[in-house]
C-alpha cells in the first residue's frame, strides 16, 4: 500500500495544465482469474492443494497498469518526469510491475535482509552490478524509450520485478479493489490502455474526452487476459 501511495503521489505531482480534470475508474475483471503459472522450483514432491480451503486465485491487480495516451489531436505541455520509489521488501518487490515515465528515475530501497545483486535483463549497463545491501538504495533511469525492463537477482531466482517505461506521463495502478484515479489529465481526447504483467491487454482501447469534469471509467477486461503482440 505504501508503494502504491508513493506511485500515486508521483503521478499527482506531475505538472498539468490549468484546465486539467481527473480521470478515475474501476477495473471490471473478467470471470475467472488468470491462469496460475506452472509450478516454479519444483523440488521432490508435487505441490498439493490443501484439503481445508480452496486454493486462492491469482490476483492480477498488482500486475495491472492503467495508462492514458493522448490522441493525435491532443496537445499538452509534457510535465517533467518524476522519480518513482520501488521498495524491495525482502524476497520480492512491493509491486511486481512498476510504471515509470520515459526518462524517469527509479529509486529502489532495500528493506529486506538479503543483499541481492540486481541486474536488468538485456540491459547490463542499467544497474551497477553490486550487492544492494539492506537499507541501501539505488537510483537509476529505467529507460529513454517505452518498453519493459525486467530486474532480477541471479542468486535468488524468485526475486524478479518488471519496470514498464511509458511514454505518457498519465498512468495509475489499481488498488486492491481494482479502483484507480488519474488526476490533472489535460483536456482533450485520450486512449485508455491496460498493461497486464508482461504486455498490453488485447482489448478495444477506450477513447475518452477529458475536460474540467471528472471522467469515470469502467474498464472491462477481457477474459483469459490476452495480450497484444509486440
Amino acid at each position: 500500500m505504501q508503494s502504491r501511495s508513493l506511485c500515486a503521489a508521483a503521478v499527482l505531482a506531475m505538472a498539468v495544465p490549468a484546465a486539467a480534470g481527473p480521470v478515475s475508474g474501476k477495473l471490471d475483471l473478467p470471470p475467472g482469474a488468470p491462469d496460475r503459472a506452472p509450478v516454479r522450483g519444483r523440488a521432490f514432491v508435487d505441490r498439493t492443494p490443501n484439503p481445508l480451503a480452496p486454493v486462492r486465485a491469482v490476483d492480477p491487480l498488482p500486475s495491472i497498469i492503467v495508462a492514458l495516451e493522448p490522441a493525435p489531436t491532443t496537445q499538452f505541455p509534457p510535465p517533467p518526469p518524476a522519480a518513482v520509489i520501488w521498495d524491495l521488501l525482502g524476497e520480492s518487490f512491493a509491486r511486481p510491475v512498476l510504471p515509470v515515465r520515459v526518462g524517469g528515475e527509479v529509486l529502489i530501497r532495500n528493506k529486506g535482509r538479503s543483499s541481492p545483486v540486481l541486474v536488468a535483463t538485456g540491459k547490463p549497463d542499467l544497474l551497477v552490478k553490486k550487492p544492494l545491501n539492506p537499507t541501501a538504495e539505488v537510483l537509476f533511469i529505467a529507460g529513454k524509450e517505452p518498453g519493459a525492463v525486467e530486474l532480477l537477482d541471479a542468486s535468488a531466482p524468485h526475486l524478479r520485478g518488471r519496470i514498464v517505461v511509458l511514454a505518457s506521463p498519465f498512468f495509475a495502478v489499481p488498488n486492491a479493489k481494482g479502483e484507480f484515479e488519474l488526476a490533472n489529465v489535460p483536456p482533450g481526447e485520450w486512449l485508455v490502455k491496460v498493461w497486464y504483467d508482461t504486455g498490453w491487454l488485447d482489448r478495444p482501447d477506450d477513447r475518452i474526452t477529458v475536460g474540467e469534469k471528472r471522467v469515470e471509467l469502467n474498464l472491462k477486461l477481457p477474459a483469459k487476459w490476452p495480450l497484444k503482440k509486440p
Binding site: 496460475r36 509450478v39 516454479r40 522450483g41 519444483r42 523440488a43 521432490f44 514432491v45 508435487d46 505441490r47 498439493t48 492443494p49 490443501n50 481445508l52 480451503a53 480452496p54 486454493v55 486462492r56 491469482v58 521488501l89 525482502g90 524476497e91 520480492s92 518487490f93 528493506k111 529486506g112 535482509r113 542468486s155 531466482p157 524468485h158 526475486l159
Partner: protein
C-alpha cells in the same frame, strides 16, 4: 618333417591363442566390474533421490501439522491484521513456534518461519530468531503456501542447502498465513543417506561443497555438473542417463556420478555427487594375483583335462620327431656306415625320403662323379702306357710296361662299365684300407719323377726327406713271398668311396696321400737316375722271382722307356711328376707309372 612343422605350427598357434585369451579375459571382468560400479552408483543416486523425496513428504506433513495448530492459526490471524509487527508479537509467536517444534516427534525441523498472509515474517524459530518483519513472499514456496498449496523446496542460503516445506495456515475459508519448516543438509544427513549403500555423497551449490558424508573431496565434479546442466536433459533422469566418471582425491581414484538437485537451489547450481572407490584395472598379472588357492583345486580347475592335453601334445610331438627325424637319420647314418665299410657301393636313395633322400642322392652323385674322374684318369694312363695285360688291360687298369718278353696277346673283351660309384685307381691296386701304411703290402713304390724345378709354375715340392735307403730286396722278397700266391683281392684292388670320403680333400687328397711316400726327384737329376736304377733293380728282381727271363733287359733301355713314359705323362695337364712302381700281375712282373698331379 612336414607333420612336425605342422604340429609346431599348431602348438605355437594354440599358445598364441592361449596368451591372447589370457590377456583378453581380464577385460570382460573389468568391464563387468565397471558395470557393477555404475550400477552401484546409479542405485545409490536413485536411492538418494528416493530418500530425499521421502524426507520431503515427512517435512510437508510436519509443516501441515504445524499449520494446523490452533495457537499458530490465531497468532497469524492477528498478525495479518496488524499494519506493523512489533517485538512483543514476535517474541510470543517465536516461543509458540519453538514449542511447536519441540512437540514434533521424529525428525524435528531445524527451523520454522511463521508468515502472515501478507508474506511478512512474524517470527523465526531455530534460525535467525531475532529477525522478523521482512517479507519472504516472493519465494516460490511461500507464494504457493499463501495460495493454499503444500509443497517442498530446496533453498541455498548462508552456504548451506536447506530442505524446506510449507503449508498454508487457514482459519475457516480464509488464509491467514503460512508456515515454513526446514532442515539443513548436513554431514549427518549425508551419512544417513549413504549408510545402507556403502557409497559416499557430497552436496554442492554455487560451485561450493556444502555438505558431505566424508572429508574426501574429489575433482572434476563441478565440470561434470556443468556438462550436465548444459545438456538440458530431464533432471529426473540424471542418475540413470549419466555415465560415471573417474575422479581422484589425492592418490585415490573414484567412480562418481553427479545429479542435479531440484527446487530453487537448482538455479543456484545445486547438485550432489555419489562416488565409490574405483576398482583398479585388472590386467593379467592382477588377475593372477587375485587367484586364490581354492581356484587351483581339483574341484574348481580341470587339472586332468589340462594334463591330458599336455601329454597328448607332448606325445604327438615326440612321435612326429621320431617318425620324421630320428628314424630317418638313424637309417641314413647306418647306410653311411655301410658305405664307409664298402658293404654297399651306393646309398639306397629310394629307402630315404624327403631331405634324407636328397642327402643320399647328393652323396651318390658325388660318388658317381669321382668314379667318372677315376675312369678318365685311368684312360689317360692307358693311353700313355698302353692297355694293361690280361684282364686289367681291358678292364680299365693302368698301363704296364713290359720289358724283354714278348707282349702278351691282346684279348679283346667286352668292356663292362663299372657301377656308377665304382672307383679304381689302378688295376691291380692293394685292397682298400684306411691304414695306408699297411694297406698295400704288395706294392713297391719308387720315387716319382717330377718336373719340379724345371717349371716355375709348378709348386715347388717339399724338401726331400733324407732319402731312405732303397728297400732291401729281402724285404721285397718277403713281401712277395707273403703275397704268393697273390690274394684275389690284391689282384683287383679297390679304393672304397668311404676311403675317398675319409681322406682330407677328397679324391685329390687321397691321391696325395697315396703318392706322398717319396719325394719326386727332379728330371734328369742323379736322384732320378738312382730312382730308375732302383725301379730297374726291383723290376729285374721281381721278374726273377716270377720266373721270367731277364735277358736283354738293361738299365739304359729300361731308363729310356721310363723317361719316355714320364715325358708322355707329364705332357698331360696337371701332371707334375710320375711315380713308377713294380708289382706282380697274373704271376708276371709289371711296371706301373702313376702320374702325380
Amino acid at each position: 618333417m612336414f607333420w612336425s612343422k605342422i604340429w609346431l605350427f599348431v602348438i605355437v598357434a594354440a599358445a598364441a591363442v592361449a596368451i591372447t585369451v589370457a590377456l583378453l579375459l581380464p577385460r570382460p571382468a573389468q568391464r563387468a566390474r565397471g558395470d557393477d560400479e555404475r550400477q552401484r552408483l546409479v542405485v545409490a543416486c536413485d536411492v538418494v533421490a528416493i530418500q530425499m523425496r521421502d524426507s520431503a513428504r515427512v517435512q510437508i506433513d510436519v509443516a501441515g501439522a504445524f499449520a494446523r495448530q490452533a495457537s499458530v492459526v490465531a497468532a497469524l490471524e492477528k498478525a495479518s491484521e496488524a499494519d506493523v509487527l512489533d517485538e512483543a508479537r514476535n517474541k510470543a509467536v517465536k516461543e509458540l513456534a519453538a514449542d511447536t517444534i519441540a512437540e514434533v516427534t521424529g525428525t524435528r525441523p531445524d527451523f520454522a518461519i511463521l508468515i502472515d498472509r501478507r508474506g511478512r515474517v512474524v517470527a523465526r524459530a531455530g534460525l535467525d530468531e531475532p529477525e522478523y518483519g521482512d517479507t519472504i513472499a516472493g519465494r516460490w514456496l511461500v507464494d504457493d503456501a499463501l495460495s493454499g498449496y503444500l509443497r517442498d523446496d530446496l533453498w541455498h542460503a548462508d552456504n548451506r542447502l536447506w530442505r524446506v516445506a510449507a503449508s498454508p495456515v487457514i482459519k475457516g475459508p480464509t488464509y491467514v498465513g503460512a508456515v515454513v519448516v526446514g532442515n539443513a543438509i548436513t554431514k549427518d544427513y549425508a551419512e544417513g543417506l549413504m549408510r545402507p549403500l556403502g557409497a559416499k555423497i557430497a552436496f554442492y551449490a554455487d560451485g561450493q561443497n556444502v555438505a558431505a558424508s566424508s572429508t574426501i573431496m574429489i575433482d572434476r565434479v563441478t565440470d561434470e555438473h556443468a556438462k550436465l546442466a548444459a545438456s538440458g536433459g530431464e533432471m529426473s533422469n540424471d542418475c540413470r542417463a549419466n555415465k560415471p566418471f573417474a575422479s581422484r582425491s589425492g592418490n585415490d581414484e573414484f567412480s562418481a556420478i553427479v545429479a542435479r538437485l531440484p527446487g530453487e537451489a537448482e538455479v543456484q547450481g545445486a547438485f550432489f555427487t555419489v562416488f565409490i572407490p574405483r576398482s583398479k584395472a585388472q590386467g593379467l598379472a592382477a588377475t593372477l594375483d587375485a587367484v586364490r588357492k581354492d581356484d587351483m583345486s581339483f574341484a574348481n580347475f580341470p587339472w586332468p583335462l589340462v594334463a591330458a592335453g599336455f601329454l597328448a601334445a607332448l606325445g604327438i610331438g615326440l612321435a612326429l620327431m621320431i617318425l620324421e627325424t630320428d628314424r630317418p637319420v638313424r637309417k641314413l647314418v647306418a647306410d653311411a656306415v655301410q658305405l664307409a665299410k664298402a658293404q654297399i657301393e651306393r646309398l639306397p636313395e629310394d629307402q630315404h625320403r624327403g631331405r634324407y633322400g636328397s642327402i643320399a642322392r647328393s652323396i651318390n652323385i658325388q660318388i658317381d662323379k669321382l668314379a667318372r674322374e677315376a675312369r678318365a684318369a685311368r684312360r689317360d694312363l692307358d693311353q700313355l702306357l698302353g692297355p694293361g695285360d690280361g684282364d686289367g688291360g681291358g678292364g680299365g687298369g693302368l698301363g704296364t710296361l713290359n720289358f724283354g718278353g714278348p707282349p702278351p696277346p691282346r684279348v679283346e673283351t667286352v668292356r663292362q662299365p663299372p657301377p656308377p660309384s665304382e672307383f679304381r685307381f689302378s688295376e691291380p691296386l692293394p685292397p682298400p684300407d684306411l691304414d695306408l701304411s699297411t694297406s698295400q703290402p704288395g706294392r713297391v713304390t719308387a720315387p716319382a719323377l717330377s718336373s719340379a724345378g724345371s717349371s716355375g709354375s709348378i709348386p715347388k715340392p717339399p724338401p726331400p726327406r733324407p732319402k731312405p735307403a732303397p728297400p732291401p730286396t729281402p724285404s721285397l722278397s718277403a713281401q712277395l713271398a707273403a703275397q704268393s700266391p697273390p690274394q684275389p683281392s690284391m689282384s683287383s684292388p679297390q679304393i672304397s668311396p668311404a676311403l675317398v670320403m675319409a681322406a682330407p680333400g677328397g679324391l685329390s687328397g687321397l691321391h696325395e696321400l697315396l703318392t706322398a711316400e717319396e719325394p719326386i726327384p727332379a728330371i734328369d737329376s742323379p736322384d732320378e737316375e738312382a730312382s730308375f736304377r732302383a725301379v730297374f733293380n726291383e723290376f729285374v728282381e721281381l721278374k726273377k722271382r716270377c720266373g721270367e727271363p731277364t735277358a736283354g733287359l738293361t738299365l739304359p733301355k729300361f731308363a729310356d722307356k721310363l723317361r719316355k713314359n714320364r715325358d708322355d705323362l707329364m705332357a698331360k695337364p696337371g701332371c707334375i711328376g710320375v711315380r713308377f712302381s713294380v708289382y706282380v700281375k697274373d704271376g708276371k712282373a709289371a711296371l706301373k707309372a702313376t702320374p702325380v698331379k
